[in-house]
C-alpha cells in the first residue's frame, strides 16, 4: 500500500509535467495540424533558461528567498521561451503554410536538432546540476521501514500545475483570444473571413504553448535538480504520446493523457522493470496511434478528398 501510494504521488508529479508539455503539442496540432517536433527541445531550452536565471539570482545577485527566486525564474522563463517559440514559428513554420504536407514536420525536426545542438555548443555537453532546493518531505504513511512521503517540491508542482491549468482554461474558454483560437481550430479560412487575425492567433498559440512548456521546464529542473542538452527528446516524445493518448487537439485530453503516461511510467518502473520504462511509453505511442488514433477524448478525423 505504501509503495502504491508512493508511486501514485510520483506518477501524478511526473504526469503534471508531461501534461503541461502536452498542451503545447495539442494546441499547435489543433490549430495548424502539424506535429511540432521541436516542442520537446523548447521545453529543454526553457529548463536551461530557468537554470541560468536561478543561478544568477542565487549566486550573483544574492536573492536569499528560494521561493521568490523560483517565482521570478518561472516568469522570466515563460517570457523568454515564449519569445523563442514566437521567433521559431515566424522563421521556420510560417513560410511553410501551404507547402506540401510533410514540410512543416521536416522543418520542425530540423529546428529540434538546431535547438539541442545550439544548447550543446553554447552551454557545453555536461550535465548541469543545481544545489537542491525545497528539500523537505512530509511522511504520509509508514510501515516496515518504508514510508510513503510527499516532498515540498511535489506539492509545489501539483499546486503550480493546477493554478496554471485553471488560468489557461480561463484564457481559452472566456477571453477573445481563446475564442479566436477555437475559431481558427474549427475553420481557419472562415475565421479569417470573419475578421480573426489568424497569423496573430497562431503566433499567440505558440507563445502560450511555450509558456506552459517553460513552467514544465522550471518544475522539471527543480524536481530533478539537473538538466542536460539532450533532455528534450524523451520527455518531448512522452508528452506527445500523452497528447495522442488523450486525443490530439483536445486540451483536457492532453492533461488526462499526461497524468496517465506519468502514472504508467512510474508504476511500470515500480512493479516491472525500470530499464524498459521508455519502451513502455514508446509502445503506448505506437499502439494508440495505430488502434485508437482519435485518442480518449478526441474527435475521429474524417479524411476528405
Amino acid at each position: 500500500m505504501e509503495i502504491f501510494l508512493q508511486q501514485l504521488i510520483n506518477g501524478i508529479t511526473l504526469g503534471s509535467i508531461y501534461g503541461l508539455i502536452a498542451i503545447g503539442y495539442t494546441m499547435v496540432f489543433g490549430i495548424i495540424g502539424m506535429v511540432n517536433f521541436a516542442h520537446g527541445d523548447v521545453f529543454m531550452v526553457s529548463a536551461f533558461i530557468a537554470m541560468i536565471f536561478f543561478l544568477l539570482f542565487t549566486t550573483v545577485l544574492g536573492v536569499s528567498s528560494v521561493i521568490m527566486a523560483l517565482i521570478a525564474v518561472m516568469i522570466i522563463a515563460m517570457v523568454l521561451t515564449g519569445l523563442l517559440n514566437w521567433a521559431i514559428e515566424r522563421v521556420a513554420y510560417r513560410p511553410l503554410r501551404g507547402s506540401f504536407r510533410l514540410a512543416p514536420l521536416i522543418s520542425a525536426i530540423g529546428m529540434s536538432i538546431v535547438l539541442s545542438n545550439f544548447i550543446q555548443v553554447a552551454q557545453g555537453p555536461r550535465n548541469k546540476p543545481l544545489p537542491p532546493v525545497l528539500s523537505g518531505t512530509i511522511t504520509l504513511m509508514e510501515r516496515n521501514n518504508f514510508a510513503a512521503t510527499i516532498s515540498y517540491k511535489q506539492i509545489m508542482i501539483w499546486v503550480v500545475t493546477a493554478v496554471l491549468l485553471a488560468g489557461f482554461w480561463y484564457v481559452v474558454q472566456k477571453t477573445p483570444l481563446g475564442r479566436a483560437q477555437r475559431a481558427c481550430e474549427q475553420d481557419r479560412k472562415m475565421a479569417a473571413l470573419l475578421g480573426v487575425n489568424v497569423d496573430r492567433t497562431i503566433s499567440l498559440t505558440f507563445v502560450m504553448g511555450a509558456a506552459l512548456a517553460a513552467v514544465a521546464g522550471t518544475l522539471y529542473l527543480t524536481y530533478y535538480g539537473v538538466v542536460n542538452f539532450s533532455d528534450g527528446f524523451t520527455p518531448g516524445v512522452k508528452a506527445f504520446t500523452a497528447a495522442v493518448l488523450g486525443g490530439i487537439g483536445s486540451l483536457p485530453g492532453a492533461v488526462l493523457g499526461g497524468l496517465l503516461i506519468g502514472l504508467i511510467e512510474t508504476f511500470w518502473s515500480g512493479y516491472f522493470s525500470i530499464d524498459y520504462k521508455d519502451v513502455a511509453a514508446f509502445s503506448i505511442l505506437a499502439i494508440v496511434l495505430i488502434f485508437m488514433p482519435q485518442g480518449l477524448l478526441g474527435r475521429p478525423e474524417v479524411e476528405k478528398v
Binding site: L56, L83, R94, L102, A103, I113, K128, P129, F282, A286
Partner: protein
C-alpha cells in the same frame, strides 16, 4: 534564428526596415543574451558558476540585425522582382547544355568514383591515402547507400520514415552476432542480414499502413527508439551499451584474408609491405558496389508496376486506391526494400568498424539520413548522392580545417557544429527550396512527349 520573417515586408522603406531590424535584434538579444552570454560551468567544487560572454552576444545580435536589414531591403525585393518577371525561355544552346550535363554527369561521376582510390594512392602513397579513402570515401558512400535506401521509402513511396536507423541496426547486429558467435562469413551473412532487415521492415510496416504522413513518421520514430532501447537493455544477447567488439573482418571472397595473423593474408601472399590501406581500398570498392546495387535496383524498379505504384502513392493515396492499386502491398514492398538496403549497409558498417554499440543507432542518425534525402530532393538519386557528399564530406572536412582553430581559438571543435549545420540546412531547404537541391523530377510515364511538371501540380507526401 531570430530574424523574424514576414511574408509581406514593410514595402522596402528604409525606416521601416530599420525598425524591423532593431526589433529582430531585441528578440535575438532576449533569446541569445542569457543562453550565450551567461555560460554555466562547473568549478572545482562541482558547483555551477557563470562566466559572461557579452562580446559574442553582441556579435550574434549584430549579425541578426544586419541580416534582417539586408533581407528586407535587398534580398526579398530582389526575389519578388525575379518571381514577377517572366522567366526568359531557355535558349536552344542552354537546353542542349543542360541535357548534355545531365547525360554526362552520372557516367563521369562513376568513373571518378572507381579511380578515386587509385588517384589517392598515386598522389599520397598507401599510408597517405588511408584517411581520404576511409574517412571520406567509405564514410560518404555508406551515407549515400543509406540515403538511396531511404529514398525508396521517403522519396518514391512518400512515407516519411523517422526510424530507418532501426534497420541499419538490425543489419549491423545480425552480422556482429552471427559472425562472432558462429564464425559465419560476411558473404553468407550479407544476404541474411538484408533478409532479416526486410522482415523487420514488413513487421514494423504492417501495423502502420493505415496511418497518414505525420502519424506514420512518429510511429516509425517510436519503433526506431524501441529497437535501440531493446539493444541497450537486452544485455544477455547484445552486451548492452558496451556493444559487441572484435567483429571479424571481411575476407576477399574467402580467398584472401585481411587479418594480420592469417596465413593467407593479402599482403603476405603478394609479398607487399604490411599496410591497412589494402583492406580500406577493398572496403571502398565493396561499399561502392553495394551502393550502386541499391541505385540499380531502384532505377529498374521504378520502371516496373510496383515502382509506378510507389510514385502514384506518393502523389495521392486516395486517387491511387480508387484506381485499384493495392496500397498495402505497395507500402510494404517499399518498407521491405528500403529496410533491406539499410540492413546491407548495417552489416557492412559492423564489419568496417569491427565494433557495434547502440550509440551508433540513435534518432540523430535517422535524422541525418532523412536530412540527406530531403536536402537532395526527395526522389532524386543524384540529388541524394550530392547531399550526402556535401553534408558528410563537408562535416568531415570541417574537422580538417586547421585555420578555423586559429580564428576561433585552440579549444575550437568544429565537430560539435556538425548537427547544428544539419538542422539549419533542413529548415532552410524547407523554406527556400522545399523540393531539395535537385528538384527536377523526370516524369517516368509520359504521353507523346516528355514535359517537366511544375511542383505545384503534385501533392507530394500527402499519403
Amino acid at each position: 534564428m531570430a530574424a523574424a520573417k514576414t511574408t509581406s515586408g514593410p514595402g522596402g522603406s528604409i525606416a521601416g526596415a530599420a525598425r524591423d531590424a532593431i526589433l529582430a535584434g531585441v528578440v535575438a538579444l532576449g533569446i541569445f543574451g542569457p543562453l550565450v552570454g551567461l555560460k554555466t560551468e562547473q568549478n572545482m567544487q562541482n558547483e555551477l558558476v557563470i562566466t559572461t560572454r557579452w562580446g559574442l552576444v553582441a556579435i550574434i545580435v549584430g549579425i541578426v540585425i544586419a541580416g534582417r536589414f539586408l533581407l528586407t531591403t535587398t534580398i526579398w525585393p530582389a526575389m519578388t522582382r525575379n518571381k514577377m518577371r517572366d522567366k526568359p525561355a531557355a535558349t536552344a544552346g542552354e537546353i542542349a547544355f543542360r541535357a548534355r550535363l545531365a547525360r554526362w554527369f552520372a557516367p563521369t561521376g562513376l568513373v571518378f568514383l572507381f579511380i578515386y582510390p587509385a588517384l589517392m594512392v598515386y598522389f599520397l602513397g598507401f599510408q597517405g591515402s588511408l584517411k581520404w579513402v576511409d574517412n571520406f570515401g567509405i564514410q560518404i558512400l555508406i551515407y549515400v547507400m543509406l540515403g538511396w535506401g531511404l529514398n525508396i521509402v521517403v522519396g518514391l513511396a512518400g512515407l516519411l520514415d523517422l526510424g530507418y536507423v532501426a534497420f541499419y541496426a538490425v543489419g549491423a547486429y545480425s552480422y556482429a552476432l552471427l559472425a562472432t558467435h558462429f564464425g559465419l562469413s560476411f558473404w553468407l551473412l550479407l544476404p541474411l542480414a538484408g533478409t532479416l532487415a526486410a522482415l523487420w521492415g514488413i513487421m514494423l510496416g504492417f501495423p502502420v499502413l493505415r496511418l497518414r504522413g505525420d502519424y506514420l513518421a512518429i510511429v516509425t520514430l517510436a519503433f526506431g527508439e524501441i529497437i535501440r532501447l531493446v539493444l541497450i537493455n537486452f544485455r544477455e544477447l547484445t552486451n548492452g551499451s558496451a556493444g559487441i567488439s572484435s567483429i571479424p573482418k571481411i575476407t576477399f571472397f574467402g580467398i584472401y584474408s585481411f587479418e594480420l595473423s592469417a596465413p593467407n593474408n593479402f599482403a603476405k601472399v603478394f609479398d607487399l609491405p604490411m599496410s591497412s590501406a589494402y583492406y580500406k581500398i577493398f572496403l571502398y570498392y565493396l561499399i561502392l558496389l553495394l551502393a550502386l546495387l541499391t541505385a540499380f535496383v531502384t532505377l529498374r524498379l521504378r520502371k516496373l508496376p510496383v515502382g509506378r505504384a510507389w510514385e502514384a502513392l506518393r502523389e495521392d493515396e486516395i486517387a491511387c486506391r480508387s484506381l485499384g492499386i493495392n496500397t498495402t502491398n505497395t507500402k510494404l514492398t517499399a518498407f521491405a526494400l528500403g529496410a533491406m538496403f539499410g540492413g546491407f549497409a548495417g552489416s557492412f558498417f559492423a564489419a568496417r568498424q569491427g565494433f557495434v554499440s547502440p550509440e551508433s543507432f540513435t534518432f540523430m542518425e535517422s535524422a541525418v539520413i532523412v536530412a540527406i534525402v530531403v536536402l537532395g530532393g526527395m526522389g532524386s538519386m543524384i540529388g541524394v548522392a550530392l547531399a550526402a557528399v556535401a553534408m558528410i564530406g563537408g562535416t568531415e572536412l570541417l574537422r580538417e580545417l586547421d585555420f578555423l582553430k586559429a580564428v576561433f581559438g585552440e579549444g575550437f571543435d568544429p565537430d560539435q557544429f556538425r548537427m547544428l549545420i544539419f538542422g539549419l540546412a533542413m529548415v532552410l531547404v524547407m523554406i527556400w527550396k522545399p523540393r531539395g537541391f535537385v528538384s527536377a523530377r523526370e516524369p517516368t510515364v509520359f504521353l507523346n512527349e516528355r514535359k517537366s511538371i511544375s511542383g505545384s501540380f503534385v501533392k507530394e507526401g500527402h499519403g
